[in-house]
């Protein structure tokens, strides 16, 4: 039998069982639509959470600080505790440690003033100093080195600070959101030795310096401004006249390979320090995302199974009710293979029609949900413009899954149809 004739006969048998066709069509439509929704949601979450956070953070880097109590996302302890420079030497002696980059914290009061979108502002802040090597090569901000005389001092801000501003402060103050790009190149004044909480005592040392934002990074501390280490050392020396040794808020340990991270971490903890990965939060997001992916896969599997069962049930009943028709086809020249093809093609038709019928409303729903999410979600710096993953590729995958479920479900009935004994089937009609 040529395909055109097989298709014509497959269509011919639909017209008599329209009502019976609706049920598997609906279940396939639901399966394909739900698959698209779930896939878009999971991939969206992975893209935002895992792709946005985890991929930007080097997993061979550990941030070492004083011991704190970790309660899932909540960190208890004093963030003002700092470490002496002797800790750097201890860490450098651990096997597997490639480098230790200290994040020096200025223990004097500091504050900054600037102009944000036409509005002058002033705030207390912490000031940190790090060497250029503190940043992994691919994330190094350009110009983060000693400036020429008269030029502003390069500074790096935390990306998380921008997220916090956009998601909380900006909304509460009815201010526009900030993008990392818009902040680059902006200037502000950094005041050393004074802040609103700790104003300089009479005769106390104060000075201000002009700074320029040259980069934003996930690695620097969220609570302040990070400048090249040389400036931090100079300011510390100037403020304390050499009487105080520098203090470090954290020490960034670069481990030689990802396999050694666990061992190095243990040794650091044995020194009474706490080591955490900058990607820890992202790893937790990744874990949640993995659970979500697994749950989605199970749910999709169940939906596809239900769709398949619906198709198999309907086609199975049709084969039973159409036994005489099948017997007649066989008596008039259809081979077993031809009969199989007719019923398989019918399953394909149910799969394709159901998949398309399910994808259209699901895609519309996704677009609506996406536009609502864009409005509702905070304008995080790393959040893509479309939080849900909507792509023709995902539509194709959902479509293929639904059609596959339908075809696999149609295999049994198709084989059953091919085994109909024409002599018995035709005799049944006579009686």
């Amino acid at each position: 039998m040529i395909f055109q004739n097989v298709w014509a006969l497959a269509r011919k048998s639909f017209s008599f069982t329209r009502t019976a066709t609706i049920s598997p069509l609906l279940s396939v439509a639901m399966a394909s639509g739900a698959s698209l929704l779930l896939l878009s949601l999971v991939i969206g979450v992975r893209r935002v959470g895992v792709g946005g956070l985890l991929s930007t953070l080097p997993i061979t880097r550990l941030v070492v600080g004083p011991k704190q109590v970790d309660l899932l996302f909540l960190r208890l302890g004093s963030s003002t505790v700092s470490m002496e420079s002797s800790a750097i030497d201890s860490l450098r002696n651990i096997d597997g440690v490639a480098a230790v980059w200290p994040e020096m914290v200025l223990t004097m009061p500091t504050s900054l003033t600037g102009n944000l979108i036409g509005t002058p502002f002033s705030t207390d802040c912490a000031t940190y100093g790090v060497p250029l090597e503190f940043f992994p090569p691919e994330q190094r901000p350009s110009g983060f080195s000693r400036a020429k005389t008269g030029e502003p001092i390069p500074a790096v801000l935390s990306l998380q600070l921008i997220d916090l501003y956009n998601s909380g402060f900006a909304g509460a103050q009815n201010l526009p959101g900030l993008s990392p790009k818009a902040l680059l190149g902006r200037h502000f004044n950094l005041f050393l030795g004074t802040s609103s909480f700790f104003p300089s005592p009479p005769g106390g040392k104060t000075k201000w310096v002009r700074c320029k934002i040259v980069g934003l990074s996930d690695l620097v501390s969220v609570t302040g401004v990070t400048v090249p280490e040389t400036y931090a050392k100079e300011w510390h020396e100037w403020y304390y006249d050499g009487a105080e040794s520098p203090k470090f808020s954290s020490l960034h340990v670069v481990v030689e390979s990802s396999e050694q991270v666990a061992t190095v971490r243990k040794e650091i903890e044995a020194l009474g320090l706490q080591a955490r990965s900058p990607g820890e939060m992202a790893e937790k997001v990744a874990l949640v995302s993995r659970y979500l992916s697994f749950a989605t896969a199970v749910l999709m599997g169940l939906l596809l199974l239900l769709a398949g069962m619906g198709t198999a049930n309907t086609l199975g009943l049709e084969v039973t009710f159409q036994a005489q028709r099948i017997g007649l086809y066989r008596a008039l020249g259809a081979s077993r293979k031809d009969v199989t093809r007719i019923y398989l093609l019918r399953a394909v038709w149910i799969g394709v029609s159901g998949a398309i019928a399910g994808l259209i409303p699901a895609a519309v729903l996704l677009l609506i949900a996406d536009s609502l999410l864009v409005r509702v979600l905070p304008a995080l710096a790393r959040l893509p413009s479309s939080p849900l993953a909507i792509s023709p590729f995902l539509m194709l995958i959902s479509c293929v899954l639904a059609i596959t479920a339908s075809v696999v479900a149609g295999l049994g009935p198709a084989v059953k149809a091919s085994r109909v004994d024409p002599v018995v089937a035709l005799r049944r009609q006579e009686t």
């Binding site: 004739n5 008599f16 008596a331 020249g333 077993r336 009609q429």
Partner: protein, 228 residues
Amino acid sequence: MILSFSHVTFSVGHASRRRRVLHDVSFSLSRGEIVALVGPSGEGKTTVINLATGLLTPDEGIIDTLGVEVSSAPDMNVSRLRAQRIGVVFQSFHLLPRESALENVLLPAYFGARPAYDMRERAATLRERAGLEGWRDVAAIELSEGQRQRVAIARALLQGPELVLADEPTGNLDDVAALKVLRLLIDEVRRENGTLLIATHDQRCLGLVDKTLVLRQGRIGTPDTPEA
């Protein structure tokens, strides 16, 4: 030789309930012959037709239909033979009840090697020759029994078969309709230069055929030697 049965034996049922229907049946049909296979009901006439089309397989013996040994050939070959070179008329018509006479006549074309649509003109011609020109869009279920059998005859002739097998074609018809249908069948097969085997218990067809075979107690004979 168009059709030959050689020492064919066939049984139905399983194990202890197994009953032999045909005993060492041998006969043959030459090209262009119109042959009646007569005998009382339940003697195995339908079985002979089903064996000839390859829908049943004999216990023993060889069946050669149009040069294909249907008793041992693969399903695909036998199906192709039924689709393209054999026409079958059933006692109970076996039409698709909700489809038109034309669609029913056209049905065997779907199993051929060409698009079924290409055969619509021939289907319409055969339908008209069967006296159903005014019944174009009427569903088969609405036709009289005589008309249904005419549709079935037109359907059997659609592919221009070399062999037509008719199983009790007048079994469900009244006398007047039965004679008309028999004449139509024989005339049309002759017109198409085909060979016809009619399995029937209707004695009226004896005068219209070239040769008569008698099937009694599962054995084949001629009217002169019915106990052969």
